[in-house]
Subunit: 287 residues, 2 copies
Amino acid sequence: MSRVKQGTAGRRVSFQGELGAFSQIAARELGGSDAIPVPLPTFQEVFESVANGKCEAAVIPIENTLHGSIHDNYDHLLRFDLAIRGETFVRIVHNLIAKPGVRLRDIVRIYSHPVALNQCLHFLDSNPKCERTPFYDTAGSVKMVMEEGMTDAGAIASAAAAEIYGATILKKSIEDDRANYTRFFLLELPRKNRNKPAGAVSKCKTSVVFTVKNVPGALFRCLSAFALRDLNMTKIESRPLRGKPWEYLFYLDFMGHVDEPASRNALNHLAELADMLRVLGCYPAAR
Amino acid sequence: MSRVKQGTAGRRVSFQGELGAFSQIAARELGGSDAIPVPLPTFQEVFESVANGKCEAAVIPIENTLHGSIHDNYDHLLRFDLAIRGETFVRIVHNLIAKPGVRLRDIVRIYSHPVALNQCLHFLDSNPKCERTPFYDTAGSVKMVMEEGMTDAGAIASAAAAEIYGATILKKSIEDDRANYTRFFLLELPRKNRNKPAGAVSKCKTSVVFTVKNVPGALFRCLSAFALRDLNMTKIESRPLRGKPWEYLFYLDFMGHVDEPASRNALNHLAELADMLRVLGCYPAAR
């Protein structure tokens, strides 16, 4: 991580959502505490902000332990030519947040993103007088409750959102399932001299996307490039291949650094077997 | 398919959406033309309708060539103990539909599901005076336009929806990309004596779900059960494993019949390698 943080003062790091979104927590971890957060409405605009040079980096969620992959972002990774430069896991902790002075018994409405409301059913069921009100964003619901000065409403969002908008946390960690983590990627423009992480080679991860020849056993042979070299594959994700019904793109992550012989040989082997292969990035593995 | 259609008169077949939904077209193909269509609001209710015996069968979409897998339904396949008994591919053809007598030049608003509107951008861009109005369902938008007797609005939906609600097709096949297919499954209660398709063994597909031991090369070894027997894997999908962050369930389809020696041996081999294995169904392959 030390490499990423060097000379990043004033770096603009974009993310999807409002200030205080879980993506901003990830942006702080990956982009450095002195990075300037740039909230944008859509994932597409986040990718564009780096591609067109308006931001130096972007932070995007790629998968969640309860909901699975964020497929739009897998598709954007292929469409935009950006490099994955870091990853982090953020535990999703939901809090009941309100205007300072407001007590739990005052609250008759609770705003949040539908996914967040759905992850706090235990708490909501035990507080039946609070009406569940879907809103477009978790942090955005705190912003709205504060801007409108609501004294009978609360919001479910991150502790960071409470801090940013000057709100109070009435109840911490009201989510049903604590094994709720989101994995985020740090993206930058690919640059020849900066595409390899300087961290310990043994603790790096590499992400690739490839297509296989449409013959039996093709994926098995592609995975052999890693298995035969004892490289640990940590994730595989399939996405439909546009224009070729029932054929797929595969996104694969493995523990390894592109400069290690085993990883380099595996990638050469995979290039030989695959129809298309692109290295999306090599970065220090989280944890 | 002949087996599925035998003795199915009056069978209730549930699907998600309104009458005229693309799922109903699949339900007609898979459940027989004499099946009674039972539209339900959510996928969960569709699975429940078979589990609790209110319907004899259900038809669910599982993947689309442009959008990818319908992950909710993969999750439901694991949660409910139903058997996959058939599959079909439906080409998604979108049509501009209106009340009889209404002409294209009369239309100032077009209703449809946001995904359908998004798949007809070419047509919508060339008709800029028509406002794009998102609605909860494709067939539901035809139903609404007809019920309200709208003379200045159209809907984008299937030809079946136009027929069911007595509407007219103003323009056929207005979708941007014709390689737009959805794969549907026919689901029934698993029954000992009816779990094996009677069709040609060589044209059957088997679907399984499994988890792998958390060691390097585990997925590769699991796939070897198929590759070493020249069994053609047609799809693999990963989903997060609840309670075990960054571990995954794998859903896999392969060409083969559970009664063939190669398939039977592959499944025994996979059972030996996997932590958990369940056969979701064996059914005649579409096309």
